[in-house]
């Protein structure tokens, strides 16, 4: 009675060899790569430094008008990442029994990657939707119910931390991947460094500053030969983007680099453009800040973060990081090799550590300032004119978030920075952040944005209406309840 199709590999015949495990793990990475355009939208548009020049749904997002009917808040791809990671976690031990060539240590290493992917995807979800379903079992057949309710943000964070700890605890997380055909493999796949970096980010988000700085130090003070290391040379700054997989990188999503520029699906090189009608552009306010850095001789401003090919006299800047070829020939457009998407790099870690230090109080301002200045000096900028003994917390934070804005421009971080800034310490700086958002926003109505952001839940995305219909256990995020039109 069992008739197996010839075009497809069916579930009962899968999970037989280590290649099966690795292929599904690869698919999980691939799904993460597919979600990059979503991550750019979610990470940038609402903050306003980078805004959408066109696209109805993109503009609704940046104007805080997204409704549950707009598929811009579709989270499906991230749950696909999770689903495949879950499959690896569940079935790799079975494969171990069947495939004699599958070594225990190799399996454990695969598991650490799967835990990383699962944790990272959950982390993106929790930052964008707050309370979300935690999925830790793969769905392979119809035996388990498909409906699942939301977990509290704190539970999700605990789950993420637990995954990272499990992965690190096995000791199988690799320091590097030695794959001759792909020199950047150590950056394109999850290493223990990537796990550390994720933990830094998660702890900062959950205001667990001691753990945050501890893990940051594991990266900053690492001594292994093949570790990610902060690149101190100003001229090397652009190497992070071209050719990519730089020394500084901790984890970045790799594209094939074959074909012409923007040819492979979803690469930042294809998403960002220098055209007059480019979808993603820097806001006027951001452009002014970037221009000011250029005046100061920063490497990360003109021909770094941005380009002004239009020369209209106005600050109409386009994102350049993913399109150029670097310091020696700043105006050259990369002919091929689509840019990677950097998820974590050392400067990010250093600034996150600095932030954690600042939140912990004045006694740490000096150390924080030193970290910030390290990043600034590398860019070719003077040190900050702040004095740790006398600086206010708000001053320090403003400087820090500005530093992150400049250093990590268009790297999909800005919205989470602002959200963190606003919500940390019981919304201590919420009003200031709203001012910043309003200041930055190019397309929305000020009163509207102010009134919307007064509601804490409006800072998060709605769950798609289709999702709610398909899953009765889900409830709409509070701000969006009943606003189905």
């Amino acid at each position: 009675m069992e008739v197996l199709p010839k075009q497809e590999q069916v579930t009962p015949n899968f999970w037989k060899s280590k290649e099966d495990v690795e292929a599904v793990l690869g698919a999980s990475y691939l799904r993460l790569r597919n979600s990059v355009s979503t991550l750019i939208n979610w990470g940038e548009l609402r903050a306003g430094s980078v805004y959408a020049f066109s696209g109805l749904n993109l503009r609704k997002l940046q104007n805080f008008q997204t409704t549950p009917l707009d598929d811009i808040s579709d989270w499906a791809t991230l749950y696909e990442v999770i689903g495949m990671a879950n499959s690896v976690i569940k079935y790799a031990p079975d494969v171990l029994q069947k495939d004699e060539t599958y070594l225990d240590i190799v399996m454990e290493s695969h598991l650490t990657e799967a835990y990383f992917l699962r944790a990272l995807a959950h982390f993106y979800l929790v930052r964008n939707f707050k309370d979300v379903p935690i999925v830790t079992e793969p769905y392979v057949d119809d035996s388990a119910p498909f409906d699942i309710g939301k977990s509290m943000e704190t539970e999700v964070i605990e789950q993420i931390k637990g995954d990272i700890r499990t992965a690190l605890g096995s000791g199988a997380a690799k320091g590097f991947f030695d794959i001759p055909d792909w020199p950047g493999a150590s950056k394109g796949r999850a290493t223990k460094w990537a796990l550390y970096a994720l933990m830094v980010d998660v702890c900062l988000w959950s205001e667990d500053y001691l753990t945050c700085t501890a893990y940051a130090d594991s990266l900053i003070h690492a001594t292994e030969a093949r570790r990610p290391a902060f690149m101190t040379v100003r001229e090397q700054w652009f190497e992070m983007f071209y050719p990519g997989n730089s020394n500084e990188s901790i984890f970045e999503i790799n594209w094939s680099g074959e074909g012409g520029l923007g040819q492979t699906d979803g690469s930042p090189s294809g998403i960002f453009s220098t055209a007059a009608d480019a979808t993603y552009q820097y806001s006027q306010s951001m452009a002014e800040r970037l221009y000011a850095e250029t005046e100061q001789g920063s490497v990360r401003a003109e021909w770094g973060a941005y380009v002004d090919l239009l020369n209209t006299g106005r600050r109409e800047f386009r994102v350049w990081k993913y399109l150029g070829m670097g310091f020696s020939d700043p105006a050259a457009i990369r002919p091929f090799m689509d840019a990677n998407w950097i998820v974590y790099r050392m400067a990010d870690i250093m600034l996150m550590k600095a932030e954690a230090l600042i939140w912990q109080g004045q006694r740490n301002y000096a150390e924080a300032l030193a970290l910030m200045n390290q990043v600034r000096v590398r860019a070719g900028l003077p040190e900050l004119a702040l004095f740790p003994e006398s600086a206010e917390e708000e001053e320090m934070l403003n400087a820090l978030f500005n530093e992150r804005d400049m250093e990590l421009a268009a790297e999909g971080k800005r919205w989470y920075d602002l959200l963190r800034f606003a919500r940390t310490a019981n919304n201590k700086y919420k009003a200031q952040v709203i001012d910043m958002i309003v200041e930055e926003n190019e397309t929305g109505n000020e009163q509207w944005i102010r009134s919307v952001l007064a509601n804490d839940y409006a800072w998060y995305l709605p769950i798609l209406e289709d999702e709610l219909i398909a899953n009765p256990l889900l409830t709409q995020n509070p701000y969006y309840g009943g606003t189905t039109n």
Binding site: M1, V3, P5, K6, Q7, E8, Q9, V10, T11, P12, F14, D20, E22, A23, V24, L25, G26, A27, Y29, L30, R31, L69, D74, W75, A76, Y79, E80, I82, G83, M84, N86, S87, P133, V135, P138, Y139, V140, D141, D142, S143, F146, I148, I179, D181, W182, A185, G188, R189, N254, S256, D265, E465, D466, E467, I469, A470, N471, L474, T484, N485
Partner: protein, 1092 residues
Amino acid sequence: MKDLINRILIVAILLSAVTLAMAQTPRVVSGIVSEKINGVRTPIAGVNVSVVNAQNRTLAGTVTNVNGHYNVTIPGGEGDLEIVFSFIGMLAQRIDYSGQSTVNIDMEADDTMLEAVEISATRPNEMGITSRELVSAVQKVEMDELVLTRPVTSFEEALQGQLGGVDIITSGDPGARSSIVIRGTATLNANADPLIVIDGVPYNSSSTENFDFSTANEEDIGTLLNISPVDIESIEVLKDASATAIWGTQGANGVLLITTKRGQVGKTRFSFNSKYTRKTEPNTIPMLDGNEYTALMQDAIWNSVNYLGVGNLNYLNLLFDTPEIGYDPEWRYFDEYNQNTDWLSYVTQNAYTVENNLAMSGGGEKATYRISGGLLNDDGNTVGTKLRRISTTANINYQFSNKLRFGADFSYVQANRNASWTSTVRSEAFGKMPNKAPYFIDDETGELTDQYFMYHSPTWEGSFRTNTSGSNAANYNPVAMANEATNEEIDRNRRLIIRAEYNPFSGFTYRAYAALAMNSTNTMRFLPREATGVTWFNENSNLSSDNYSESLSIQTENLFNYTKSWNDTHRIAANAIFRTSQGTSSYYESTVSGLASSDVSDPVISPTVRYMRSGESESRSIAGVALVNYSLFDRYVLQGSINMESSSAMGRNRRLGYFPGVGFAWNIQDEPWLAGARDTWLTQAKLRLSYGQSGRSPRGSSIYLGAFSGGDSYMTMPTIHPIRIQLDNLKWENSTEYNYGFDFGILDNWFRFTFDYYVRKGWDLLQKDVRIPSTTGFEELAYLNSGEITNEGFEFRTDVVVFANRDWRISGYLNMARNENTIKKMPINQTEAAGVAEADANLENGSYVVRNIIGRPTGAFYGYRYLGVYSTADDTYARDAEGAVMNDVDGNPIRMRNGLYPVFPGDAIYEDINHDGVINKYDMVYLGNSNPTLTGGVGLNIRYKQLSVSAFFHGRFGQSVVNSARMSNEAMYSNRNQSTSVLRRWRNEGDVTDIPRALYQEGLNYLGSDRFVEDASFLRLKTLTLNFAFPRRVCNALGIASLGAFVSGYNLITWTNYSGQDPEVSIKNGLASDSATTPVSRRFACGINMNF
């Protein structure tokens, strides 16, 4: 048919024959067979004379010569002989042989003229159950009556309206599939076609696995059954679940049991049928001529200019810079765009159908055979469509001994079907601008040349576009498309069935068959550049595709039957059936474009491959059925059955389905207390009750299996991702049916009445592509069991012989069926809220929303209520529930809005249900559903001596149809030509009319509203036939057995209020929408039927 009855009589009489003494030596009997015509004895030629023994085995036989004389040798060694005289149209005569040397006999005409439809015969069926013992609703039609003298070419056309509860919608194109729905739609996503069984073997009609019938055009699907209807003896329909039980889950939608004609013992007979049919197009909708068209377009664009304000230059430029609709003699194509072209007349034609069938049958003591061949040439009313069918059958039955019999059937049918390349040819012709010429115009003479005019102005008419199947092709020259583009399908169908039957001892029968069916379909399509006018580099330039698909199915059945009776009190018929079936299919398709010339259409020669596809699939199923029928005193019948079935399409855990059935019948007329009535007037009074369950599996094989598929690589990692969730718990879609029936007949069945009431409840409905939470990592499930639907209805049929004597006979019949379909429980993936969201997205012209809502039938559709046209500016103000004009905060009256568009005089009025001044989704109302409430047929036969007239009417009532053709002919929104009814459109302030103003590409003047919903109830004089059977004298003189000649008409008169071309509209995607496909033609046929 009469032979069949004769055979039955022979069996019946023989079984009760009294044993007689017999002669021992071979002798010869001779004599003359004659018939008394007007008191004069006239010899008959061709009468079968057979000598049979007590087992009814034919020992010798002959046929009378022209003088009615015969000689037959009586074989020795056997006693208990009879001589049987039989002839078509005559009562068989049986004479006990007691040593006579001369037997002269007068035959008598068979006056018990048989009706086209009758309750199935009295002989036990394959299960050993007689009609008296049947517990379920069964109806049977004899095909000769329906096919031989009527202008029909398929069995569906013949059956239309004949069988209560069998709703058939035929299609107008030759060889296109008809839709057959038995007792309403009971499933949403599983196969809804009835099972066709030919001579006991299920006929596998599903073309390719995974074929999505819900989205396919009927043109895409081949005919249900590729067999010449002339080869069919009779068709029986099994409707309720206890009847279909033995056919397993395949029969869940009802079963059509087809019995083909077989050979009979006797001299070789030939039968020849020839039919010649002329088909004409029903009246078309009158369209605007060239001048009216250009005037309308200018009006429409000018209105849009005003609508947006004169500042909007787009429409102004369009109005002044479009030479196609302006008068510009300097323009190079001025001549070609100043014509009066009736495009539809170029793509339609009067067509002819010729059908010839020849069959040879006969047999001797050991073997009988029938061989037939037929040729059908059926041209369609749309230019370029035709069907050519060659059908051959051969069947042989061989009696090895009284205990063992073998048989083999072979058939080969080849159908060559030419269809239009695109199904939109007619609608394109309807909408084509009438001032344009189909051909270039000779500058000198002003006459049309023979060169197709290929120019399409991109700004006005738009460039050619299409999907690969051609189902939405637009902007082409329909004349070139109909004449030059090809879509030829060659369907070859081979079937071989081998049968064996063994009776080791009395009462026990073992029957088995193995059936092999091979089907190959080759479709060749070519779209020449002449038709589309695209550039050489366009992907649709000289597009050619070849599609080859092949399927093979092997079926086996083993049946054990045991029948026994005790003291005429108890009778039992027990059956065990075991069936297997296996099917494989594969296809290959390639499509290329850019062929160098229209003369080269083979896809192998091309430079540009657009795509190639291939696939294969396999499915298997096994079923075991046990059925016991018990009757007490021959009056009370109890039947129980159980079907166990397992299919490769089902999930692992629920693969085996159990479907029980029980039934009870009471032959009331045989009760002792009714003896008086029975002897005088009561022929039959039978009560039937039955209950049964049935199941349906999803289409395709192994669809329940989870699957992985490869994707792009990530860095050096090859990737494989899961694409489907495994459905281990996929269940059979289940249905339960209760049937209550009553059969009643009086005065030797001069009046007969059959009534059935049924309730069928389907649950665990198979929902396809069900959206599931994306937290699972998947978007959807292939199938999910959810939802509940019921069909409830009744059927009745009555047959009356009004008057009969030797010369006259007037009889008639009427059948009617009503089915009501209701959704009882919502499938979990569909909520009413989702319907509303969908409606919101659909505030657009021309679309209706089909919603499944509890308490409503499937195919219920929603839209706006059309109230006419705003005559004056005053009318356009929004009014509240009391009818007072609504004002804004400044006290100014608010103008109504249709969606985002403010309305102006001349725009459509829709009822503002919630009185908010805006027409939007909240003003949507239920408009109707696509299910007919009543279907039926009425037949009338009048015979006077040799001449007979029969009329048959078919009717369907209460179906709400969206007249899409009228919608696009009255929308005045695009550059399509419109029907003449738009001449009464609103033009000036104060005009009171029902047709809104012309408004080019603006406004919402043809929202899906009740304006285009029509009641497509109709009653049709389907056939009217005049048949003349030549007198036997003439036949004898010609040396033939019988000869009939007929003339008949088809679709002669239709009584309907429906304004479209044809009220027979089938349901597509839940909506009965009339989009001007080829209407069923009006036909006249004449022909002869001859036996010799």
